[in-house]
Symmetry: C2
Subunit: 404 residues, 2 copies
């Protein structure tokens, strides 16, 4: 008699954004006349940039012609894309990462969820709290997290690193040494980040303690301050302790196009075992490449025209971030983030819980945000708004919030 993976049954409730969607749909059904503004899920709203659209049309045409048709892609991704990534995202920033250390994928969410597979189930993970739910949930599914305590909303075998206004949202080295450390910087959900020298301390810590850092740099395009690293490989020694995850969703609006990549340096080893070889084996066995059309779209991101268009797109969203941050401040809220990331993290007023504030905002301002507690226990009492809406909606949302 077949049995299921019991770890799945340990997962509490459903995925955060599914719960939000259900609540919003229920409110919307009951109040069809209300115009709801969604600043909750981190989905973009600006269309794909013209030079990327042109590249996709061209690639579609290639697929319709026998002479230029492309079937199965190379396991790691097309050379043209990997070279563009290596050159623009790494070599240009002084990072010694080569094209064959880059693995193109269908997005950073897949990579975030799958990367834990190459590690032992005995390894202990450390996560910032609050945190992007996929890191923890994918480790729960693998049986790496122990038991769940519904009271504390914490797993017995996960090391939590609280990031709150008290420590300025900078994770501290945990008392117990972790094997795998997840860092997302600039951070989702808090919108805050740390300096390059603070990141260097984490790299040194990992190398000293034999830990590996899973570094999620999905929001690097939004960095505006000089002393913030765009890649962990800007830090000395990162190639022997860090895997970096990157997305095209936020810098180029590819949430519905689907493209990402993971960097696994060849120097990253566990004894004699190369993690690069392991990830290559996983990629080759359980994945069959991102679409040719999408990889050409990714290449266009690095063209001169693409870069110029996307700089404007990022500026558009960061202007929204400024609008939200200043509007909330004017309304008397305590706010964080929004300088190096497209997220605003606010302290809920009058000691409301995160979900109380969610309901309050939905019902009274018809604005959807994300409850901080959905990202972990230390997110309780906080709330996330994203800058990914349209400017018009962002302005309207803030007008409504100010009137509350």
């Amino acid at each position: 008699m077949f049995k299921v993976n019991d770890n799945y049954q340990k997962l509490p409730g459903s995925y955060l954004f599914s719960t939000i969607a259900k609540k919003v749909n229920a409110y919307s059904a009951a109040n069809p006349q209300k115009s709801i503004i969604r600043l909750g899920i981190g989905d973009v709203t600006q269309p794909i940039a013209p030079s990327i659209i042109a590249a996709m049309h061209s690639a579609v045409d290639e697929m319709g012609n026998a002479a230029t048709f492309h079937g199965y892609a190379p396991d790691l991704g097309y050379e043209f894309l990997r070279s563009a990534i290596a050159k623009n995202d790494y070599v240009a920033r002084g990072c010694d990462i080569s094209a064959d250390e880059i693995f193109v994928s269908d997005g950073a969410k897949s990579d975030s969820g799958n990367i834990q597979e190459i590690f032992s189930v005995d390894n202990k993970i450390a996560v910032c709290d609050p945190v992007y739910p996929v890191y923890v949930d994918s480790n729960v599914m693998a049986g790496r997290t122990g038991t769940y305590d519904p009271k504390t909303e914490m797993w017995s075998d996960v090391i939590y690193m609280p990031c709150t206004m008290e420590n300025n949202f900078v994770p501290e080295f945990p008392k117990e040494t972790p094997d795998i450390i997840y860092l997302c910087l600039p951070n989702n959900p808090t919108g805050t980040t740390i300096t390059k020298s603070q990141l260097q301390e984490w790299v040194d810590y990992a190398n000293k303690n034999g830990a590996v850092i899973i570094y999620d740099a999905a929001y690097e395009a939004y960095i505006s301050e000089d002393d913030v690293a765009h890649s962990i490989y800007e830090c000395e020694g990162a190639k022997t302790c860090a895997i970096e995850l990157r997305s095209f969703s936020k810098n180029a609006g590819f949430t519905g196009v689907r493209l990402g990549f993971t960097v696994v340096p060849k120097e990253l080893k566990c004894g004699d075992v190369s993690l690069h070889a392991m990830w290559a084996r996983r990629h080759g066995t359980k994945f069959n490449g991102a679409p040719y059309i999408v990889q050409r779209a990714g290449e266009a991101v690095y063209s001169d025209a693409g870069k110029a268009e996307l700089k404007q797109q990022v500026a558009y969203y960061m202007n929204n971030a400024k609008t939200i941050k200043e509007g909330l401040k004017d309304a008397g809220y305590t706010v964080f983030g929004g300088v190096n990331a497209p997220y605003i993290w606010l302290k809920t007023p009058e000691q409301m819980t995160s979900w109380e504030f969610f309901d309050y905002l939905l019902e009274n301002a018809n604005v959807v945000g994300t409850p901080g507690s959905g990202f972990g226990p230390s997110g309780e009492g906080y709330f996330r708004l994203t800058a990914f809406g349209s400017y018009e909606n962002t302005v309207t949302a803030l007008e409504r919030i100010k009137k509350l």
Copy 2:
């Protein structure tokens, strides 16, 4: 100190098609004047059909316009595609499968590799021998297969069901009862299949023994005989014991476009636990949808124009299959398959091993095929040729083989 997933280290050598690619590249580098014809890997060569190209251009345009832009897709896939699948692939064949039992993915290879995650690591798998390597390798990575014996090329905890000319390539019920049974029909690599009544016996066996069938129907578009099922759900009782994997790679040439789907019926349960809910949770946690453009391409597969164009494309490849099969017969080979599948499975001549014949064919006819032993020990002494080349190349390859 972090540790790796030791199961990866148990995997022998590299992925079959990587080994072939290396051998071909080495021969080609040493003999640059030779024109090599590749009938090895199951990659298609015909361009994407015109109506699908038109649908992709239209979807690309939508992505370039704020009013029609699409961000994150629904977890299960877009309703327009899931409805088209349910209607055309299931309801039209009398199968009671609804749109919300269909999970759209980036391809059947990903689903083939990932589906084992929702089962217990204690479960025992049964596979046909020879078999598509991903089924076994993904279970090795999960630690479900015991130890590998390099002499027999078999895993201690895998149940092998030999499919050879002796049993007419029809798998027999194993002596030991498996928990999970992988069936790929029409079969890769043998190109053979079984009748609907033989498949019904497997469904009855699984229901009786509490086993689950992972049914890979990637080649269903090539079925030409009436008594062969296009879906396992044509068999009575399949909804309580079977998961079906489908691909757009072979029926629509999407090897480089990337689209597939998995059917998990709501009635499929382990005690009270719904496998549909588990797969939905995996999809929601570790995957973020297939690209909008690609899902629109999938929808076009089911349009009247798409169906007509793809019928021609399948006929084109099946004419190649006939060319290969008859050519080999004329040359004195013993051949199988090629009637309900685009693969020809031949007995190697003069008791050559599969790899000996691979080298012989590469060096003397400059034709690349796939050694049967690469698919499992019972594939030794067999060899696979695919019908996915161009007609001209197929004819030339057969002329060369006939001259040997």
